[in-house]
């Protein structure tokens, strides 16, 4: 069966959910092999095997932490040159996309970024992407070399398919450090109890209508009731009411959850580009002409400070 390489996204050996989604998609195309860079491969192996990784290539070298992006490029290129995989899948985040592009350039292969689905086609994998603020749906395929594809979070639900992976340690020859950006420091972002924005099934976002940093507690309360991540519009972030890492939009994080609840967000094109592919969209806004209502499956024209607390109260009442 054709081998499919999957680059593992992890924090200290804890495999992130988009990687499990990649393994699930890879199984449609062939037999997934995970490529793990860094220490703590042992703790990751179990999770990778549970989602169907037959092999785990482990690259543990100081360069992995010291340099930005290029160690993953060297590793993936050299493993691909030796194993001749049928495709290479990576997560669609800045590091993943840059790695993918450089690997494709070196392998003289084609690249597709930001896929939201992959299916088997007559000429290799066929991808689906969203374009122009999600107003278009595009299918495409790679026409040269080994298809290199980056996939957005939530493109597939992770499905377990347990196997015991074979571990293969790789000695990678790293390119000259002078042609790389050096990592001076890494400060992990403090993780709260809420799910991560990119991975969450439900996202509750606040915008200009929240009108103040302290008022975001209203948004957080709804998020916690629904087990959701908190998002914010660019206006709210620019006003300093919520951290930039939570910005949903074209230049922030692009999300595609099962449910997106937008409160006090008018729905400018840049915001819509970041959330328009959400499965169910709910909007609460005082302005009945807000463009967000054009997308909403359910909308409440009203004051979010009235509607949201009542929503929480009612959900809690129904639960008790």
């Amino acid at each position: 069966m054709a081998e499919i390489l999957v680059l593992v996204d992890h924090t200290d050996g804890v495999v992130r959910k988009p990687t499990l989604e990649l393994l699930t998609l890879a199984r449609r195309l062939g037999e997934p092999s995970a490529v793990f860079l860094g220490r703590d491969a042992d703790s990751a192996t179990e999770a990778l095997g549970r989602y169907g990784a037959h092999k785990v290539y482990v690259v543990d070298a100081p360069e992995v932490d010291e340099l930005l992006v290029t160690p993953a490029v060297d590793a993936l290129t050299q493993i691909a040159e030796n194993t001749g995989p049928a495709a290479i899948l990576l997560p669609s985040n800045p590091d993943g996309k840059e790695t993918a592009a450089r690997v494709a350039l070196r392998l003289e292969s084609g690249l597709i970024t930001d896929a939201v689905d992959i299916v088997v086609g007559g000429n290799g994998p066929v991808t689906e992407q969203s374009a122009f603020a999600a107003t278009y749906q595009v299918t495409a395929h790679v026409t040269r070399g080994i298809p290199v594809i980056t996939v957005k979070p939530n493109a597939a639900a992770p499905e377990p398919a347990p196997v015991t992976p074979e571990i293969e340690k790789w000695d990678v020859t790293f390119g000259p450090a002078s042609a790389a950006a050096k990592v001076l420091s890494r400060s992990p972002r403090e993780r709260g109890d809420r799910p991560e924005l990119t991975e969450a099934d439900v996202v509750v976002s606040g915008g200009r209508g929240v009108n103040g940093a302290e008022n975001f507690a209203v948004i957080e309360r709804v998020a916690d009731t629904l087990g959701a991540a908190v998002g914010a519009s660019r206006a709210a972030v620019d006003a300093g009411w919520y951290p930039h890492s939570h910005q949903v939009g074209q230049t922030g994080t692009q999300v595609s959850p099962q449910l997106y609840l937008a409160a006090g967000i008018s729905g400018a094109i840049q915001h819509r580009a970041g959330m328009q592919t959400s499965k169910t969209i709910v909007a609460v806004n005082k302005d009945q002409d807000a463009p967000i209502f054009e997308l909403a499956d359910y909308g409440v024209v009203g004051d979010l400070f009235q509607v949201l607390p009542q929503l929480v109260e009612e959900i809690e009442r129904r639960r008790s």
């Binding site: 350039l105 930001d114 122009f132 999600a134 107003t135 278009y136 400060s187 499956d297």
Partner: protein, 253 residues
Amino acid sequence: MKHVPDATADRTFTEEGETDRESVDSLLSELDEYAVEQALRIAESGVDAEISYLTVGPDDAKDALRKALAMGGDSATHVSDEDIEGSDAFGTSLVLARAIERHGFDLVLCGMASTDGTMGVVPALLAERLGVPAVTHVEELTVEDGTVTGRREGDSATVRVRGTLPAVVSVTDRSGDARYPSFKGIMAAKKKPLETLDLANLGIDAGQVGRTGARSAVDTATRRPPRSKGEIVADDGVGGAGLAAFLTARKFA
């Protein structure tokens, strides 16, 4: 610099699955304005700098260069050739890399992505082709003593990175508000040198770029059906309870 269809307009694809550049007005990609701004700030900080802009595209892509020149800077290069049409990121980055090498450089500044294709891979491809460090996606950058240092906000961590010059840097929309061109700037831009090059000038064969050189192909590009009209209710005092009922029915609560 990239000249792109206005992101606020209704953008469409041609039958060949390429961006339709005829149907809507194009302008300088908003995300590239942040790169212009950073270049101007570096020059204003007292570094002896010459700022030159570069774009690849049809004739009217010159407008993007004029806009950048109106913000500030010294000169511009426009690479235009019929055979470039239909290029993917690999073809585009080849043209850009050759033009950059021809000109010579200490620092290549880019926006984090274009607002049309949104791949965000050209800066990394340029670094790969030029064999120099890539300090990408930074929100804050410092150029001193032959190095460039940047702060990068990742999904799970804040990373500080440094590259030695020459280097490629891409900046996000958090790097600092871009200035508006002044009337004086707009007038001055008309007099600044703007050079036009084609593939022959850069020693690139037509087969390496354009549709022939592209390494992927669009099979279909279809407009998503508009979302079916949802239920919009005015809050008459029980809007929150109604929303709770909707979320419960959809099994979200």
